[in-house]
């Protein structure tokens, strides 16, 4: 009882929190290799080496930062990612936080992520980081609606806002097939919430690193780690909402979840660097004028499908 409800879910969440970002870094390394950015042996060691360098480098301080908020931001981002992972059902019994409103809680995590990313850029009180922070908020305010409409879509056939119920409702057919628009839209949200690839408005190259421009050492380590952890949490939610979570033949549920999460991570790691960064203006228009109506269509599709 205690084992099933506390120990195993906690162990799985912590394992995903530590291993997930590491594996994502390895996947990123593989993609970078495919693009010809790195070479040679050490694919598995490269993330650890980079981490070791960040631990050795001194943490930077700016002239008059909001010091406490600045150090809190990466830790909060990590906590949000961990909170997201806690919602992921690993099997019917093993769910760290099995509440009736887990989709709503995930929505609030997405919204708070915007606040935390803004905080990271704002607290430094430096110019390039500040521009990055405000720029990201434009994106953060735009993707949240797309995300919520798509997630409401998966709640319709489940008649519940609990992720476990959403998975159970997929027993006959996974949502990725039943609501074909859902997953692609949700993947875009995943890139946006971790500001990767085309949606890297926060830490973009034109701002010399954006919100990270004046961040170094251990703080940067935690920031990049949290950013990866958030994508891992996101892949967990995507797995539960669209890919049938623990459902699958032969293997035990948690393994299926892990495989599906890895597949989502690999897809996102490959998609991210494939596209040029959008300008903030483009980003906002795209989200509101193209993706949001598509999310409406997805919702209507899901509704009609759920009634038939």
């Amino acid at each position: 009882m205690i084992l099933d409800q506390l120990v195993w879910p906690l162990a799985l969440v912590l394992a995903a929190l530590v291993l997930g970002p590491y594996l994502l870094a390895v996947l990123d390394g593989l993609v970078a290799r495919g693009l010809g950015l790195t070479r040679g042996p050490g694919l598995w060691l490269a993330p650890l080496r980079r981490g070791a360098w960040w631990l050795i480098q001194h943490t930077n301080v700016t002239e008059a930062p909001d010091g406490r908020a600045w150090r809190l931001a990466p830790a909060l981002y990590l906590a949000l990612a961990a909170g997201g992972l806690a919602l992921v059902p690993w099997s019917r019994a093993w769910v760290a936080t099995d509440i009736a409103t887990s989709l709503v809680l995930w929505g609030s995590i997405e919204a708070l992520a915007t606040v935390v990313i803004f905080l990271q850029g704002w607290s430094a009180n430096t110019h390039l980081t500040l521009v990055g922070a405000y720029r990201y908020v434009a994106l953060g305010l735009s993707y949240i609606l797309v995300s919520m409409f798509v997630l409401i879509g998966v709640a319709l056939p489940a008649e519940s806002l609990a992720l476990t119920q959403v998975i159970i409702s997929q027993q006959e057919l996974w949502n990725v097939l039943r609501q074909p628009l859902g997953l692609p839209l949700f993947l875009i949200v995943g890139l946006a919430i971790t500001f990767r690839g085309p949606f890297n408005l926060a830490d973009s190259t034109d701002l010399a690193g954006g919100t990270s421009a004046d961040v170094s050492g251990a703080q940067r380590l935690v920031w990049e780690f949290a950013r990866s952890a958030m994508l891992v949490a996101f892949s967990g939610i995507a797995t539960a909402a669209f890919l049938g979570g623990w459902l699958g033949p032969w293997l035990p549920g948690p393994l299926w979840v892990a495989f599906k999460m890895l597949a989502v991570l690999a897809l996102l790691a490959w998609l991210g660097p494939a596209f040029a960064r959008l300008t903030p203006e483009h980003c906002v228009s795209l989200m509101w004028v193209v993706l949001l109506p598509l999310a409406f269509v997805d919702l209507i599709w899901a509704g009609v499908e759920a009634l038939s």
């Binding site: 970078a32 495919g34 693009l35 010809g36 950015l37 790195t38 070479r39 040679g40 050490g42 060691l45 490269a46 650890l48 080496r49 980079r50 070791a52 360098w53 631990l55 050795i56 480098q57 001194h58 943490t59 930077n60 002239e63 008059a64 110019h127 500040l130 521009v131 405000y134 720029r135 690839g197 085309p198 890297n200 973009s204 190259t205 034109d206 701002l207 010399a208 690193g209 990270s212 421009a213 004046d214 961040v215 170094s216 050492g217 940067r220 660097p273 494939a274 596209f275 040029a276 960064r277 959008l278 300008t279 903030p280 203006e281 483009h282």
Partner: protein, 438 residues
């Protein structure tokens, strides 16, 4: 010991290098971008090594000191064809003069830095706040009215200024950027006034360092040269410029591809180069490079385009090219390519078209060993070189950039070539030009 295995692990990491480019430092940048063991970064906060490539004029040494002091410890410096700052201790300085030895030297420096066998670079500037504390109250506010004083060493952003786009009067951020800002031409120094993320005012304080061209352009002014060599050098120049724009767009893989193509330009098989370039161009379009550049952003007015000349003028619809005056080119049935819009996007379309054209011209010229027929006008990638070399045109930015969003402004800047043409070709040593820098 715990720290030592951490250091050993970190010593094998890709070497994070912040390049501060002086005169003729680009070659080092292009080489390092293709070295997988080096990771070029855009902020000193992310680097363990300061690479100063090329000569730094005396007027910019204070700025270099400031960049140097912004590195978090531990870090050290490496100087490529450059004279180290005199106050740096010998232990914290490595000098390298050969391009081939550069990546190795950087890896070596990073390794010894973490093994503590090389000196950490010391701080050069005095540890004093930018302004002494002024004002009253807990936070130093007050004193002279609400926003008076210098709380925490600097005044607050003031005064409210009317915005260019919507006229709303909010605070503006005023700062000086450069000359070692890695995302714009080396040497460019400007006072930027931002209102939100839109540039309100841009005043150039020092022009970018003169840009050195391949020696073949200089030879073409003196004697007849092979058209193929000239066109290959032209393609190479534009491809290297593309590297910066692609990096700015976040397309790191394609940026490297552009450099790889550029490296093959001088001697590679021309048919193969043209084919690779076609693939490269297609990929660039598919990955949304042009979507980054909204229409009409960074558009030059007619007289500005004329002043700038070269591809920038042709991108604005001015049908002018010194190659049309050359009999050699005429026999190749050379025809100028032009675009109409004259904006950032048109300039990149123009440059891509000119690269493709250069490969085509080179292929045909090579077959019949065609040579240039005249020496009094050479079309360089920077514009026509007639009686005088194309000069610097960076004051044009003061007119062009205000009103643009930050990212758009940098993209426009990357699509232009504003530096004057250096009187010396590229392969020459940088020291001859440095004058009193040492």
């Amino acid at each position: 010991m715990a720290v030592s295995w951490l250091a050993r692990l970190a010593a094998c990491a890709p070497v994070p290098v912040f390049p501060a480019l002086g005169m003729r430092g680009e070659e080092a940048l292009y080489r390092l971008a293709l070295s997988p063991e080096i990771k070029l970064v855009d902020s000193p906060r992310h680097a363990s090594l300061l690479l100063v490539a090329g000569g730094v004029p005396p007027s910019m040494q204070q700025a270099l000191r400031r960049v140097h002091d912004q590195f978090p410890a531990p870090f050290t410096t490496l100087w490529y064809r450059s004279t180290p700052l005199v106050e740096l201790p010998r232990a914290a300085v490595t000098t390298v003069d050969s391009l081939d030895a550069l990546p190795g030297a950087l890896v070596e420096s990073h390794g010894s830095l973490l093994r503590n066998t090389v000196g950490h670079s010391p701080r050069l500037l005095p540890d004093a706040p930018p302004h002494p504390w002024q004002g009253l109250g807990d936070d130093g506010h007050g004193g002279e009215g609400m926003m008076g004083g210098v709380p925490y060493g600097r005044p607050m952003a003031m005064p409210p200024t009317e915005d260019l786009r919507d006229g709303l009067a909010l605070d503006v951020l005023t700062f000086r950027l450069g000359p070692f800002f890695p995302l714009w031409p080396p040497g460019l120094e400007a006072e930027v006034i931002l209102q939100g993320d839109i540039i309100q005012q841009f005043s150039v304080q020092s022009s970018p360092f003169p840009r050195a061209l391949a020696p073949v352009f200089h030879e073409a002014r003196e004697q007849s040269v092979a058209i193929a060599a000239l066109e290959r050098a032209r393609a190479r120049h534009h491809l290297q410029a593309l590297f910066h724009a692609l990096h700015l767009a976040g397309l790191e893989g394609l940026a490297r591809d552009a450099l790889r193509l550029a490296d093959r330009c001088p001697s590679g098989d021309i048919a193969l180069l043209a084919k690779w370039f076609k693939t490269f161009e297609r990929r660039m379009k598919r990955r949304g490079f042009f979507a980054l550049h909204l229409p009409e952003r960074g558009a030059l007015r007619q007289e500005q385009a004329e002043r700038l000349g070269g591809f920038a003028a042709r991108a604005a619809g001015i049908d002018r090219d010194a190659r049309t005056e050359d009999d050699g080119y005429r026999r190749l049935a050379f025809a100028t390519i032009t675009q109409q819009a004259g904006d950032t996007r048109a300039r990149w379309r123009q440059r891509l078209a000119e690269i493709a054209q250069a490969f085509d011209l080179a292929a045909r010229a090579q077959r019949d060993d065609m040579r240039t027929a005249q020496t009094d006008a050479v079309e360089t990638p920077r514009g026509a070189w007639r009686d005088s070399r194309p000069g610097g045109t960076s004051p044009l930015l003061e007119d062009l950039l205000p009103g643009l969003e930050w990212g758009e402004a940098l993209a426009s800047l990357a699509s232009l070539e504003l530096a004057a043409l250096s009187p010396w070709p590229r392969e020459e040593r940088a020291e001859t030009q440095m004058g009193g820098a040492a």
